[in-house]
Symmetry: C2
Subunit: 494 residues, 2 copies
């Protein structure tokens, strides 16, 4: 689509046109923000003009294409915002203002703001060290130790502008030349394919097993790896997204042990995208286990990078761009290179760094804000769980639709057996069937989801990804609209 205007740019005598710019960035695909959300924005614009509202069959656009909780009215955690507010304007803590401030902020938010400011130095407006504030990295390390029961060292932590920046940095480190291959799950979050396209490296796909809750087929990995290595691809690392995006699957620790042993045998570095670690909905049967823990339990020397973020979980502070990576079994000289990479962009944003601190070091029992903090967490958690469950049942009650349970993350990834008549129609019209299905869903319901082709899927199968983030008050209507649309669609193309 982008290519159409290349010749006109070049006729206009531009130095930069689609034929001359970096083809790797030109060819990146990032479906989460592609044609569907663009159309959804147009529809939202139309709806904002009241007069035309009657001409559309829905009253609002529901953006289920992005894991963007606060855009869908999820409330921020009060304590996090109170502390963030105080550190922005330290005069609130001055002797002249503190009495007034105490009327507006709880004591533990005030003392946390004071201690964070003390650890920052003169101002949150200064660059921090390239890897981020030592105090925050220390708190991250403590959080990891407490989570896993194994030591973590602050010098192995880098704070980043969200996990996306961290992932891109590690991929860039690992990809030394175009022969390098990185194993990625299919379906995957498109950051990975986009970044590999950008870096000119090879994505080596491995398929998740939909029928068994999107688990990993470890024996199958060996075959894929060998086949690619025989073709001369220098397969060097594997990306694992757990809990899964877009699948919602959660790996068992048994499955993970097999994966670590496989990586050890095959000399593969692990990139563990664990940004949804707080989003698991059956903590008894399918709890989250970190790769750091499994690697440590096995005393493995597998090189591991783990990623976490404030954008997901119950924190949901996407706009703040805060995250971290942990390095495990990484050589000191490679760590030095990573720190230098961080230093070229100076440091990650400080408000995001401080929010990481609050996520990993929340109010403790006895603290003034403890009960409210936990009540807010629980309320968001329980609501997500109930919405996931509702939507799972709704999808499974639709004709030709099957959906695995959301064990984790913020997504369901239902499969639709599209009627042949519809597939034929799309093939004549040169359309991707899943994309066309989702576009029709958007036009009929106002619900914006992402077609499975944006994440990858087994050839001939069709899926879409939807978040279950709309608030519960909208949820029944949301499910109703989907159900009616799908029924009409099936009747049209059966």
């Amino acid at each position: 689509m982008l290519r159409t205007s290349a010749s006109s740019d070049s006729k206009m005598g531009k130095v930069l046109n689609l034929d001359t710019i970096n083809s790797r960035v030109r060819d990146m695909e990032y479906a989460v923000r592609g044609a569907l959300p663009t159309r959804a924005e147009q529809l939202a614009q139309t709806l904002s003009c009241d007069s035309t509202k009657a001409s559309l069959p829905f009253k609002q656009i529901i953006f289920c294409n992005l894991g963007n909780p606060q855009q869908l009215e999820q409330k921020p955690l009060t304590f996090l915002r109170q502390v963030s507010s105080l550190v922005e304007y330290p005069e609130l803590l001055s002797p002249e203002k503190i009495e007034q401030t105490k009327l507006l902020f709880p004591g533990d938010a005030i003392s946390r703001a004071r201690s964070l400011l003390a650890s920052v130095g003169p101002s949150i407006g200064a660059y921090t060290g390239s890897s981020g504030l030592l105090k925050v990295r220390q708190d991250v390390a403590k959080f990891i130790e407490h989570r896993d029961g194994f030591p973590s060292d602050p010098s192995n932590i880098q704070l980043t502008n969200g996990a996306s920046e961290a992932v891109a940095r590690i991929l860039e480190l690992v990809v030394s030349d175009p022969s390098v291959g990185i194993m990625i799950p299919i379906p995957q979050y498109p950051l990975y394919t986009a970044t590999l396209t950008r870096l000119g490296a090879q994505a080596v796909p491995y398929y998740l097993q939909e029928e068994s809750k999107w688990s990993m087929d470890v024996p199958g990995l060996t075959g894929i790896l060998r086949a690619h290595r025989e073709k001369g691809i220098n397969v060097r690392a594997i990306v694992i997204i757990n809990p899964g995006n877009p699948t919602g699957g959660v790996l068992s620790s048994k499955n993970m042990s097999e994966i670590v042993q496989f990586c050890e045998r095959e000399k593969l570095v692990i990139l563990a995208d664990e940004v949804y670690q707080a989003n698991t909905y059956d903590k008894k049967n399918t709890p989250f286990t970190s790769f750091k823990k499994v690697v440590s339990q096995l005393s493995s020397d597998v090189e591991l990078f783990s990623f976490h973020s404030i954008s997901k979980g119950m924190v949901g502070e996407c706009g703040r761009r805060g995250g971290y990576l942990e390095m495990h079994n990484i050589s000191d000289s490679v760590k030095d290179v990573l720190n230098k990479m961080a230093s070229v962009s100076l440091c990650s944003n400080v408000p995001g760094q401080l929010a990481v601190d609050i996520m990993v070091n929340p109010p403790q029992p006895g603290d003034e804000s403890h009960d409210q903090y936990n009540a807010e967490l629980d309320s968001i958690y329980n609501s997500l769980k109930s919405r996931a469950n509702k939507l799972y049942h709704a999808f499974n009650s639709l004709e030709n639709v099957s959906c695995q349970p959301a064990q984790g993350a913020m997504y369901l990834f239902p499969q639709i057996k599209l009627p042949n008549k519809f597939i034929d129609y799309c093939s004549k019209d040169n359309k991707l069937p899943d994309q066309e299905y989702c576009m029709r869903m958007l036009e009929s319901t106002g619900v914006c989801v992402v077609p499975g082709s944006g994440f990858g899927q087994v050839q001939g199968t069709f899926h879409f990804r939807t978040t279950f983030l709309p608030q519960e008050k909208y949820f029944d209507s949301f499910i109703h609209l989907l159900t009616v649309f799908h029924k009409d669609f099936m009747n049209q193309f059966r």
Copy 2:
């Protein structure tokens, strides 16, 4: 230095070692955060243990290696922080709390917070559009129109995590393959050489004319360009840093017109790094003029990217990572690619975006905070100007040191004619003379500067870059320490 441990990593059987990782990121150099600041951090650590303080000839480390004003106690602008504080915790604006809030915050900060929150949508915790909030981009466009007297379109603005991210994004767009060359000034801010190394492109250096206040020799550019094009280098763009980093020079608009005409003739894209646009210290004789204005005045079709940031000027909010780029004469299809590049990292951080809004849209006459805001700006500005001037005179009074005036930016870049005896000593010891001089300065004075070799300099000349950011109360002692050190040094090696 880094290479020494490569073989030991590989002996340890690591997949990732200095021989296997991406050599382009391994080989990047970024002097602003190199050996000197590392040693400075060690000394600062030593000083923090009171007992050993007596053993060092100074009482504190003064970090003049980074343009990091708030780290050197520059006060943040009150209005910016008040608004930032309010948007973090919108409950302060609720009917229950607003009366208390009014006792702590001025009315215009409250109304600005309300209007920003309204433009953000549900929460600053949500991702914004990939290019940033429309309201902020509109305000940036208005600011540019007011500054230049020529139209600016919000759809040509992208908000970024500081200007560094913006620069890296544009360089990545322009560098399509290793034959691409980008003209960069020498001396330059090392972000440019580091990023070009990272991208595998060619830096095509052009030398600034030190003797005429670091101006650009436009006739000379043609020769450099032709020579590189004849060698098969596809020279496609030119980087101009104005006001200059590390030089402190400010280009005249006549010089700029010649540059634009040269770029038009030679089909070069301009990357105009204008992050120091508010830092000019002789507004009558050497005012800042934007390249956007000059290109517009000449009705030129030169493709232009301009960069600005909240980190510099009198705002100095480095830690917040806020910035923007403006595209001018860029084709729509290339803009689409840039928006897609932005979308892969989702969006820049929202607190940084909102701070950009306040920088470009400060309190207006009649607003409650107007006088204080301007008084704060003026106080910082006047102090910077006076410190620049003091330091300029101090350098020029030193034996063998000559320094151009700081017309702009936050730096002086004095030249030192190092004694032959010292140069011989360094050459025997395999040391860079300017690096060794700066290291000795650090060990004797606690002042950390950056050697000229980190920025590039004419072969056989030696410089260092220092900010003039230490507060005035430290300034006399700062100058005194430098003067004593330099005198001793000269006496030792004369």
